[in-house]
């Protein structure tokens, strides 16, 4: 009998360790999703059989790793749909070659992400690697890929160091960093709304740290005083009501910033409303808090809540409308930022392959071609790429949650700031001298900030949304 007891204890310990591995909620021994191998309609033969025969076979293989299960499965799913749409529009062809997409589920686990990258690199002999949802996932994969001479195009993964302190020349991120949108947001709240104190509750890992870092820099630069922060590991609990009950209502905080996304955000926001806190203090979110598809699960009481992102659901440009319509037609739902980012990244990949006429043997030339792709017709607004750090310079939209005619919630744009880089208004050199964003940096009190961070040379220009 004791044997059995030990067996159980072992199982509990192993699964709990797996779940807490590296601060990212692995979904433990969750069911491995059967490898979704999406080849061009007619060809679906398994990859391993052909040994690096890419050139002869005339096919280009793109590997895509993402979290299709787990806490952020919503983002993973949206990402997949965006990428597949871009491929289908190109008919799985680019530069005269057939494109094969090989998808792998890493279950939002860093170890799994590396194992799957390894499989894609060594077994499938991919030419390009893309995907990645969470910040940690992206950092882990980028680190593994460092010496593989294969272009890595992170889609939704936004830890800034992938294109900053950990940058290597095979990385091209056409999407965003955590701080990019939040710096604008924090600045706007302090400068335009006149808010002084924010109470932040965040998920304890790299992406929210980076979002918080951007937010604090912007908020303090704009004249704020304090961003008090509480952190809890993502996925470690689904009952936040005790953290909510601990929010002080009498200490002059202007708002609560929930710095988390996915399943955690759904729980947090629901409980915030259920405990009646929406009537006591303003709730604002980070970029993912109110994103689709999770927004559909949120209560209508949060109408009016602000968040920043690089997309807004009511963008009214020909590019966005065309994308939205195509996405709706293919998948029967409206696109989210994650699907737009995936669509846009995949389009850059395809256009670069076109530009090199399908010859992907020279990887450096391929990366160069990606950097030169014209992204002015991107659905989310014009994007250009920074030639030094291979990161995006693009619009940031301040949005508020609104209710559509059919009763569903969406993110309505209110202000636009154009051409924001990953360094925000700072000059790259100064920015890179600062410590990496974490759960203890930047300091919670603006008075403890290094003066150089409170005084940037560039100032954002807020343009009314849609103008």
């Amino acid at each position: 009998m004791t044997k059995k007891l030990y067996l159980i204890v072992a199982i509990v310990l192993v699964s709990s360790m797996l779940m807490s591995a590296c601060g990212v909620p692995a979904v433990a021994p969750a069911p491995a999703e059967p490898v979704a191998e999406q080849a061009a309609p007619a060809v679906a033969e398994p990859a391993p059989a052909e040994p690096a025969a890419v050139a002869e076979a005339g096919k280009i293989k793109i590997g895509m790793i993402s979290a299709f299960t787990g806490l952020f499965s919503g983002f993973g799913e949206m990402q997949k749909q965006g990428a597949v749409l871009a491929l289908e529009e190109a008919n799985y062809m680019a530069g005269g070659k057939q494109i094969v997409l090989i998808m792998e589920d890493d279950q939002l686990d860093n170890e799994q992400a590396i194992t799957k990258s390894k499989k894609l690199v060594e077994q499938d002999k991919i030419d390009i690697l893309t995907g990645m949802v969470s910040g940690d996932e992206g950092l882990a994969v980028a680190d593994y890929m460092k010496d593989k001479n294969i272009p890595v195009i992170p889609m939704y993964s936004a830890s800034e160091d992938i294109t900053m302190r950990e940058f290597h020349p095979m990385i091209v991120r056409t999407t965003w960093t955590g701080a990019q949108s939040m710096d604008v947001f924090g600045y706007w709240l302090a400068k335009e709304k006149g808010w002084k104190k924010i109470y932040q509750i965040g998920e304890d890992y790299s992406f929210p740290w980076n979002q918080s870092g951007g937010f604090m820099r912007g908020f303090c630069r704009g004249g704020g005083e304090e961003v008090f922060s509480v952190w809890s590991p993502p996925g470690s609990t689904s009952d936040f009501s005790s953290m909510i009950a601990s929010i002080p209502l009498d200490e002059g905080y202007d708002a609560v910033l929930y710095n988390g996304g996915g399943g955690d955000a759904v729980n947090f926001v629901k409980q915030f409303v259920e405990l009646g806190y929406d009537k006591k203090i303003t709730l604002i979110g980070q970029s993912n808090t109110f994103e689709k598809p999770d927004l559909d699960a949120l209560p209508v009481d949060i109408i009016g809540s602000y968040s920043p992102h690089h997309t807004a659901d009511d963008l009214n440009t020909p590019e966005w409308n065309a994308f939205k319509e195509a996405f709706n037609k293919r998948w029967g739902r409206n696109p989210s930022a994650a699907s737009e980012f995936a669509y846009s990244s995949m389009r850059v990949i395809l256009r670069a392959i076109d530009a090199v006429n399908g010859d992907v043997s020279d990887k450096a030339a391929l990366v160069d071609a990606m950097l030169k792709v014209d992204m002015t017709d991107d659905p989310r607004g014009p994007v250009s790429l920074d030639p030094t750090f291979h990161s995006a310079i693009e619009n940031v939209y301040i949005r508020e949650v609104a209710k559509a005619e059919d009763g569903t919630l969406y993110n309505k744009g209110i202000w636009t700031v154009k051409n924001v880089s990953q360094f925000g208004p700072y000059d790259p050199e100064t920015y890179l001298k600062q410590p990496i964003d974490g759960n203890t940096y930047p300091p919670q009190k603006c008075s403890d900030f290094p003066p150089v961070m409170l005084d940037a040379e560039n100032v954002y220009e807020f343009v009314e949304f849609g103008k």
Binding site: A30, E33, L71
Partner: protein, 286 residues
């Protein structure tokens, strides 16, 4: 300030409610059958998802609770009759079989239900905002506490006041003698496994309404329910009550005061119990 502590305690009790419904099902099956059902978390998830579909189709939450519970009871029945019964008494095949079932269920859920987090909509009449002495708290959470108390009382009644319960308790002590007395122990095994499934299904609907259901969530739930029965003592109903009460408060206060470590805090009582009293607080020496 006291207001905060009252809410923390209430949160702890809500957590306890769900932990108890989960843990009691698992402990019951283990006490009698000596089977650690590692698909308990998957049962929870499937029950929740079925309930979600019912709510979506009919908007009737009580019906969802019923369907979620009963369908998992039926699944438990079929699984016990056709598979688990065949390998009875062999620890390893029993355990592996339940692991396999949990993987199959989790994959089936991926096929039929959304891959995103979903929540069962609780109708307003079941979730009024209740304010007692200045404490505002969601009515559904009170309802969960009431439901779990009702379940605890019914389980106690079944175990201590009915013939089935007598046979179950006798079976826990000495299986051979019970079968020698002319009681069909196999039937009892099946009933208990069904009951355990019923509880997991109910917990799934409750948990899916109060929190959410998401792919992969089954393993978290399984871990939590194992912690409940290890602390409480495997096979002990009272143990499940007490340990879920303790763990609920630890989770609630942990989140308020040390959110970064809250997940690990629940393993502290488990480690202490294993070191000092390996059979669990109310478990018997085994």
């Amino acid at each position: 300030m006291e207001l905060k502590y009252i809410i923390l305690i209430l949160n702890g009790l809500t957590q306890s409610a769900i932990l108890f419904v989960l843990g009691s099902g698992l402990t019951l099956a283990f006490g009698l059958m000596r089977v650690v059902n590692l698909s308990h978390g998957a049962f929870y998830m499937l029950g929740g998802y079925l309930g979600w579909s019912v709510v979506k189709a009919t908007g009737n939450w009580p019906l969802a609770l019923l369907v979620g519970g009963l369908s998992i009871a039926l699944l438990g029945f079929l699984f016990e009759k056709t598979m688990l019964g065949r390998v009875r008494g062999n620890d390893l095949p029993e355990t592996l079989l339940t692991v396999a079932l949990s993987m199959i269920i989790a994959d089936v859920c991926l096929v039929f239900w959304a891959r995103t987090a979903i929540t069962l909509n609780v109708p307003q009449y079941l979730n009024p905002t209740i304010t007692i002495l200045g404490v505002t708290y969601p009515g559904f959470r009170y309802l969960m506490m009431v439901i779990s108390i009702l379940i605890a009382v019914s389980l106690w009644f079944i175990l201590y006041k009915t013939n089935l319960g007598k046979a179950v308790r006798a079976g826990v002590d000495d299986r051979e003698t019970v079968s020698a007395l002319g009681i069909n122990i196999n039937k009892i095994y099946t009933s208990v496994f069904m009951l355990s499934g019923l509880l997991a299904g109910l917990a799934g609907v409750l948990g899916g309404s109060y929190l959410q259901l998401s792919p992969g969530g089954d393993t978290t739930i399984l871990t939590l329910s194992l912690v409940v029965i290890i602390v409480g003592g495997m096979g002990s109903l009272l143990g499940a009550v007490i340990s879920s009460l303790i763990l609920g408060q630890i989770m609630s206060f942990g989140l308020a005061f040390a959110p970064q470590y809250s997940y690990f805090l629940i393993f502290i009582p488990m480690a202490l119990v294993l070191a000092l009293r390996p059979q669990g607080l109310f478990g018997r020496q085994i």
